[in-house]
Subunit: 154 residues, 2 copies
């Protein structure tokens, strides 16, 4: 995978949570991911399709971080991963992918985004059906961790 593809997603997530929820995420080191287990409790997954490329992105949040972001955005306490939290994760998934799309488009990598689906469930797995390596990018906030996974066929 083109390493150029990694930073736009890191920047997009940091910007989105900082702007929308005053939550600062510290990015860790991107790594290859060998298994299918989601590291978090609620995940957004979105497909990307362009004339010469296919990709899949997922972002997953530990429950306490997802609830913290929701609380910051709403201004009130949220106690479970309900449909409103799923919608919020969907919105963040769209915004990260949209932010990275804009950045990558300026570098000549064009793709369209599908709509995200949001997955919950203890120990769920997500298997991206794209023929390429999977990169996982960890993020740490005070209230928990988040991870972006991307997989492109080029």
């Amino acid at each position: 995978m083109n390493v150029e593809f990694i930073n736009p997603f890191i920047t997009a997530l940091k910007n989105v949570t900082s702007m929308m929820a005053q939550t600062e995420l510290q990015p860790g080191k991107p790594q290859l991911k060998g298994d299918q287990f989601s590291r978090g409790d609620i995940s957004g997954v979105i497909g990307m399709v362009g004339p010469s490329m296919q990709g899949s992105l997922s972002i997953t949040f530990e429950e306490k971080l997802a609830l913290h972001i929701m609380e910051k955005m709403l201004g009130e306490k949220v106690s479970e991963l309900n449909e409103e939290v799923a919608d919020m994760v969907g919105e963040i998934t769209n915004m990260i992918c949209g932010g990275a799309k804009k950045n990558l488009s300026e570098k000549g990598h064009e793709f369209n985004m599908a709509t995200p689906a949001i997955i919950t469930g203890k120990n769920h797995t997500i298997n991206h059906q794209v023929d390429g390596p999977r990169i996982i990018m960890p993020f740490q906030a005070e209230s928990g961790k988040a991870y972006i996974e991307i997989c492109f066929n080029k």
Copy 2:
């Protein structure tokens, strides 16, 4: 949602399992789905994006039906929902969506398909982030049940 959109997916799934795995699926009555719980143990989810439409499809299999289909395709016993079964569900997801895409394109409804992601996990939920009603189509085979869910914004 346009009811024209339902039958192409039913036909595509019946054809795919019949051809690939000599497994006959009896379709039940399509219904509106009000909750987010997946009815099966392993699901494929794929986004569809066109000039004037957005859609999301998921197909889910009960474990025993997924293992039965895998066994029929490989000619050997499979005992767990491993990565090969995930790839098989990904392939079926692509084929159903591709079959319906061809049919709907002939009726003037154009969309591109993203790549699928495969989800496993007991009691997982899938929340399609498309602004439209969700239709669930049940299927019964001798060895278990499968369900297609589709959601379109028109």
